[in-house]
């Protein structure tokens, strides 16, 4: 029952997104424009600064992720559908999981485009260890999106939500971003340091477990008026 509800919420979000593709296109465009700005800061005489690619990748991801998080709940608020969703006889944590899965898939879709672009534009050997890099990206995305989905959902009723979301989200998710950037850096350097990357993957798994557990635990009282 739990997963059925989660999958239904996910399907609903994906169906809306598949029709308009609004969040995907805008998020992707924003992420790419972030790359453009970073190129001004981190490229000197045509050569990208060493080790810059991993930081650029993760910052572009978190910035564009914040945009997507705000937008996906803005849509619910605009259509007055969040209340309907919460009134449905379904467990609140299941709704949260559905929303989270939708967010993770959306961010992964962005990453699929962003990753080759960063590798291409900043001359980073991002595909040297594809499995480890995928693990880092998926775990990092889950960690970021788990806190983000919870905070975006609870801020929906607040007037100042656009400002408060990044204010709350970034300090809390800094451990995830550190692990992502450090892990990716270890993979990009020559030769790749697999031991370090694996260590950060382990830490990311720990953060994900803590964040998802806390979010599942607090979603219900936070969404009750």
């Amino acid at each position: 029952m739990f997963f059925k509800v989660a999958i239904l919420v996910l399907k609903k979000d994906l169906a809306i997104e598949a029709r308009s593709r609004e969040i995907l296109y805008t998020t992707l465009f924003f992420a790419i424009s972030c790359l453009l700005i970073f190129s001004v800061a981190f490229v000197k005489e045509g050569v990208p600064a060493e080790d810059a690619a991993s930081g650029i990748l993760w910052i572009a991801l978190t910035f564009s992720g914040t945009l997507a998080l705000g937008r996906t709940f803005e849509r619910e608020r605009y259509g007055e559908t969040l209340r309907a969703l919460l009134m449905a006889p379904a467990s609140r944590p299941a709704i949260y999981v559905g929303k989270l899965l939708g967010m993770v898939l959306l961010m992964l879709a962005t990453e699929a485009v962003l990753l080759p672009l960063v590798a291409f534009l900043f001359r980073a050997p991002l595909f040297a260890r594809p499995l480890l890099l995928t693990a880092l990206l998926v775990l990092g995305t889950v960690g970021f999106a788990s806190v983000g989905t919870l905070f975006a959902a609870m801020l929906v009723r607040t007037r100042t939500r656009d400002v408060l979301l990044p204010i709350l989200l970034y300090p809390i998710t800094v451990p995830v971003i550190i692990a992502g950037v450090r892990g990716t850096s270890a993979l990009v350097q020559a030769p790749p340091d697999e031991a370090i990357a694996t260590l950060w993957i382990g830490l990311l798994t720990g953060f994900d477990v803590v964040f998802v557990t806390l979010a599942l635990w607090t979603f219900e009282p936070l969404m009750t008026e």
């Binding site: 609870m154 007037r159 408060l164 709350l168 300090p171 260590l199």
Partner: protein, 221 residues
């Protein structure tokens, strides 16, 4: 709590009056000499931060799940105290770092994470101020997440060690340097008593503020 307030305030004052004397008397540490003396307050401050974060996390969880107003008063009071003690700890650490490492600030794991903790609790206060109606609940979520990440801050130095001393430094200090060991815990106790006194005062203030709000609402009706 109210009966204990004055005695505790007196105890805190007495302890802080003695602390500089004790720090002046304790012998120099062999490698860092005079500079090391800031350690007694630096460590104690961060212990007060730990206590404050723990109170905020527990109070936030109680408020979120039970809705008790007193828990919310404790949460906001301890969040404010966290930012104050955290600032003091960052400043004392920075002064010490200038002399011990030669730089004001080092992007070491522990410092980064302490900075992050400060940001989390400043965020908590911003949500309360600008969140509008229902901000207490949002802030409670922030308090819970902030307190949950605090253990990572403590462990981070062991995982990603750079220049900051390891967390095992306290374990070895007792055998090597007993005078310093006793003084460190004396200072820690002083800071904790100070924390309790300030917490009690701030909770009382928050309670009165809530009462005043209620009285305003009652008068309008």
């Amino acid at each position: 709590m109210r009966k204990l307030f004055v005695p505790l305030a007196v105890v805190a004052a007495a302890m802080f009056a003695y602390a500089p004397v004790g720090i002046a008397r304790v012998p120099y540490e062999s490698t860092m000499l005079l500079v090391q003396k800031i350690f007694y307050f630096h460590f104690a401050t961060w212990m007060a931060v730990t206590a404050s974060v723990a109170v905020c996390g527990v109070a936030s969880a109680i408020y979120l799940f039970k809705g008790t107003a007193v828990a919310d008063h404790y949460a906001v009071a301890s969040a404010e105290l966290t930012t104050i003690f955290c600032t003091f700890g960052l400043v004392s650490g920075s002064l010490w770092g200038r002399k011990a490492w030669g730089v004001w600030w080092q992007w070491d794991a522990r410092l980064t994470m302490a900075f992050m903790l400060e940001m989390v609790f400043l965020g908590y206060l911003l949500v309360r101020k600008y969140g509008g109606p229902g901000a207490e609940k949002l802030a409670a979520a922030m308090g819970i997440f902030g307190a949950a990440t605090a253990p990572f801050i403590y462990k981070s130095v062991d995982w990603w060690r750079t220049v900051h001393p390891q967390t095992t430094v306290m374990k070895t200090l007792g055998d090597k340097f007993p005078a310093a060991w006793n003084l460190v815990w004396f200072c820690t106790a002083a800071f904790l008593v100070l924390f309790v006194v300030m917490l009690a005062a701030r909770v009382q203030l928050e309670y009165l503020r809530a009462e005043l709000d209620r009285a305003y609402l009652a008068a309008e009706e």
